[in-house]
């Protein structure tokens, strides 16, 4: 499997170097550092072969996290493992992952590397679980001598519900649900939708005692068709079509496959219960209508009309519409009824920001762009207009959570909270 794991800074210096198999020499790795990392040549491509050694790597800010191997490993797994490794480190370093904290915590990192991988084979790499027995500065001696506790720990780590320890107690049992949707849209110059999809995520924060079994239901068309119709129930809500769902490891997948029911014993605290993808019947919250005019050789005019398509009682927040302008833009005069529009040269565009945008509302921005003279004869390559926004209490897919039931043998009734929000993913309109 994997021969070594290496952390490298942007200059190509090795920060952490852990070998799992004997078939790799340090000089092979330094060669990679010198050739690829330091020169930034072809660094983008996540897998590079040099003389029979494969270098599989990801880049997190300035740090390259590298796995080397000489055998035919599963690349997707290796990459996923590297991401997981970074996630574990972040969990230990309070969300940080940079050269400083790697240098500061290198002893801990070695300890973690010893645990998350053995002989190049990925092992336990769940931060919550690891924290139970690997801590900065060593474990408390009480734990190291308490054989019963240790046994409990190893059986949890290797057991079927490794993500949840026993005997959790909360005075007040609460569950928070967040439905977060990112809308990805690509519109052609003429305004036809080339592709649109919603990438959704349901985040959950569980503050629950004991070993609760949860059952979660949405207005999933396939599920609702299975349910027997209750007398008197209106048949208007037929549910929505979900293209694909991916679940956290705690969800019982065979049960979902058979009954389409989402059941699980949740981990303690915050986690991502599921992600989903929807392509049918998407309610796009904003429509962009740009008009582009060349007024002579050194003058451009771009008019952007934007329309919100959601109910009046809802609001879009933190809108930022980015209208690209040519590199040689000298001056931009803007004119709009709401929000503020400003030419930001470092972004190569006019950014039109609107703090709060009401539903079912139209606004117009007019930009007049004066171009400076330029030696570059190349015509301007117009990047697409992009928009960022958030619309709370709105789902572009129409997804609704119908129920969340919690069963625990002590029979408590938890308080449940839910929030919806729709955000812009890649929301693009070609110009």
């Amino acid at each position: 499997m994997i021969s070594s794991i290496v952390f490298i800074n942007h200059k190509g210096e090795i920060l952490v170097y852990r070998v799992y198999k004997d078939d790799i020499t340090r000089s092979e790795t330094t060669q990679f550092c010198a050739k690829i990392v330091a020169t930034k040549e072809n660094k983008e491509c996540p897998i590079i072969n040099i003389d029979g050694t494969s270098f599989i790597h990801i880049t997190i800010k300035d740090i390259v996290v590298l796995a080397t191997t000489k055998v035919n490993v599963n690349v997707a797994m290796t990459l996923q493992f590297l991401y997981q490794l970074v996630k574990v480190c972040r969990a230990y370093f309070g969300g940080e992952f940079d050269e400083n904290c790697i240098k500061k915590h290198f002893v801990l990192i070695y300890e973690l590397l010893d645990e998350v991988m053995d002989y190049g084979v990925p092992q336990i790499a769940d931060a919550d679980l690891l924290k139970k027995y690997i801590q900065e500065g060593g474990l408390k001696p009480e734990l190291m001598n308490d054989v019963e506790k240790l046994k409990q720990l190893t059986s949890q780590a290797t057991g079927a519900t490794s993500w949840r320890p026993q005997n959790i107690v909360y005075r007040k049992n609460e569950v928070y649900l967040d439905v977060i949707e990112s809308v990805n849209v690509l519109m052609s110059v003429k305004g036809t939708i080339l592709k649109a999809d919603v990438a959704g995520s349901i985040q959950m924060k569980c503050l629950l005692s004991g070993m609760p079994e949860c059952k979660f239901g949405m207005n999933d068309k396939l599920l609702m068709q299975r349910e027997p119709r209750k007398p008197g129930q209106t048949t208007t809500d037929k549910g929505i079509t979900i293209d694909d769902l991916k679940f956290h490891q705690c969800v019982k997948l065979p049960k979902f496959d058979k009954e389409r029911a989402i059941t699980f014993i949740p981990p303690d605290g915050q986690f991502e219960l599921m992600t989903y993808r929807i392509t049918e019947n998407i309610n796009l919250p904003f429509k962009i209508m740009p008009v582009y005019n060349e007024l002579g050789k050194n003058k451009l005019e771009i008019r952007v009309k934007i329309k919100s398509i959601f109910e009046k009682n809802l609001f879009g927040t933190n809108l930022a519409i980015k209208i690209p302008v040519p590199k040689n833009t000298a001056n931009v005069s803007t004119n709009s009824a709401i929000g503020k529009a400003k030419h930001e040269p470092e972004q190569q565009g006019v950014i039109w920001r609107i703090k709060k945008y009401p539903g079912d509302f139209e606004a117009l921005l007019r930009c007049e762009i004066d171009l400076g003279s330029t030696t570059n004869q190349q015509p301007w390559i117009k990047p697409p207009i992009s928009i960022e926004f958030q619309v709370p209490m709105f789902t572009a897919s129409g997804l609704r959570v119908r129920f969340l039931r919690v069963y625990e043998k002590s029979g408590y009734k938890p308080t449940k909270w839910i929030r919806y929000i729709t955000k812009a993913g890649e929301y693009l309109h070609r110009l």
Binding site: M1, I14, L15, Y17, T30, E44, C45, I47, S54, I58, T69, N72, V73, N74, V75, A76, M77, L79, Q80, Y83, V107, Y110, E111, D114, D118, Y119, V121, Q123, G137, L139, M144, K151, T154, S155, A157, T158, G159, A160, N184, L186, L194, K195, D244, K246, F247, H248, Q249, V251, L253, P254, F256, D257, M274, T275, R277, Q377, P379, I381, E426, L428
Partner: protein
Amino acid sequence: MAYFGNNQQRGELQELYADLNDLNFEKKKEAVKKVIAYMTVGKDVSQLFQSVIKCLEFQDIEMKKLIYLYIVNYSRQKPDDAIMVIQNFRKDVRKSENPLVRALAIRTFGCLRVPKLNEYLIEPLKDCISDDDPYVRKTAVLCVPKVFEVSPELCPPVLDQLQKLLEKESNALVLANLIQSMREIEVVNGKQLILMNPKIIQKLLLAVDECMEWGQIFILDYLATYDPADSKQAEIIIERTLPRLSHINPTVTFCAVKLILKYLDYLDNGDLVKNLCKKISPSLISLLSWNQSEIQYTILRNISLILQKFPILFENEVKVFFCSFNEPYYIKYEKLDIMVRICDSKNFTQVLNELMIYINEADPHFVRKTIKSIGKIGMMYDKALNEAVSILVEFAKNVQQATEPVQELFIQMQILYRKNRNLYKTNDSLKILFNILEYANEAEAKSACAWIVGEFAEFIPKSVEKMKEYIDNFLIEDRLVQLQLLTSGVKLYIKYPSLCSALIQQLINSAKDSFNPDVRDRTYIYWRLLSTDPEVVKNLVCSAPIGSSQFQKDVRLWETKDLIIALENMGSISNLFHKLPNQLYKNIKVRNNHQQEAKIYKADEKQEAPQKDQEIKKNDQNQQQPQQQQQQQQQQQQQQKQDFDLLNFDEPVSNNNNNTNNKMDVYDLI
């Protein structure tokens, strides 16, 4: 010690030595940390071996781990000193009540990799494999391949133990590690170690439901190499694997997809196959838009394989491969490539409209590839021809510089003109191209321009002057351009005999003494022909092309016979480079027990099967050759192409041209 030549560093080592032997525990610990830090940056601290291992007497687990790390790093340099640690390890393994300490010891013990130490290891290892604690067991089973690699002769009793464990182990995590460990040994050993039977399969399927994500991957990966006994068994395994399609780890999903796709061949029930395809497709599409581009890339690199065997999976899904503006280019290249593969007689307009946008991108390589793709689609579908040409002409209108994409433009336009001569009229394409001929600077592009001037001389103003310009520079041109200039010059002479007599004389004079035999030979052939009977030359060189020729869509990447092996290795490094494992790794032998033909899963589309088969055979012959031979062959074909060109039978030329083109694409991808 030469490395530490100067005094200051020697001082550092001495200081560490002193600290390691200090009585103060904290000081010792700090010193050990420093030693590890030096080790990380690549300094040799093996000198301190004795002093470091002396620190093992403390029960501090953090320090223990650091020292173990140090020992593993230097044990092979200092085998004699390493022996001193053996007692410590054995004590930890046998006496410690703490499962973490037992596991740590056995894990590190295996990494010493000193043959003469391994004999001390076998007994404790056996104990650990049958330890009560699953955490120790899962560590111990992974220790076996470590020992096997260094001292295989010691291992038979342990291997027996592993095989027994495979039957009785109930912990999913241990089972997953066990499978992985036995596979590792199989690779070194070359012998099959895991003996599959229905009971074990049942067990593994159960374990998939219970173990953590990596374990699921090991098991699914392993099961994907298994050949199910019959349709029934395949069905059961598929059914148990289906739930994995909804796992949040993309690799788990991808392994499940791989397993199911492979097992489809074994199913008798056609409807079931169709249903399964319907289930797999959305899951795969989710992976394609995964938010980590590295993962996305690995999936994309496997798509051409899936497309070749299972075209049905991406029916009507071409949109998924549209590039978005901010994506990294390595993703865009893959998507572009797939878009050409997925393009068919129904969706080519959609694809062309999308490609039209990419022509405006900033990266010249990407734009070039886009232009090539447009040309290719024009070649594949007669109906797409006009659209393709108008996009390219639109691009040509804005050309102001000799950029890389412009070179490709000439090459593609020549190919398209060859397919249908009448295209020169479309959107004034010829006129627009003529205006930018000066921007051709690559050999292939220049040769394309020379061809265009000769072929359409009668429609180009001042074609003779243009040709004169070319011929004036004849001697400094590339061979490819020279050959084309010969043919084009003769064409021009046939068309305007009186105007060009001096020109053809100049051409023959420049070419007849060429060092290149091809150029020389061609010159003499034309010369002789022209001096015997210009009419014959006219018939040969300027004969009207015989309508548009048949171009087969052939975007296959893998040989049909390799499909199953490639499928089993989906996701692995070799597949990412579009190769078979044995082509990339010398020590891997290909299992050749696949009696079955690889089935191709198409959506309901009428296909003339016999013709296709013939074509496949033809191509298989071509592709079976190893790369080098293939290259040779390509050269031969190029040669052949030129031979044809000599007499300018337009039809076979373009046909051949198409073939070589496809070939070239295969190289592109590799």
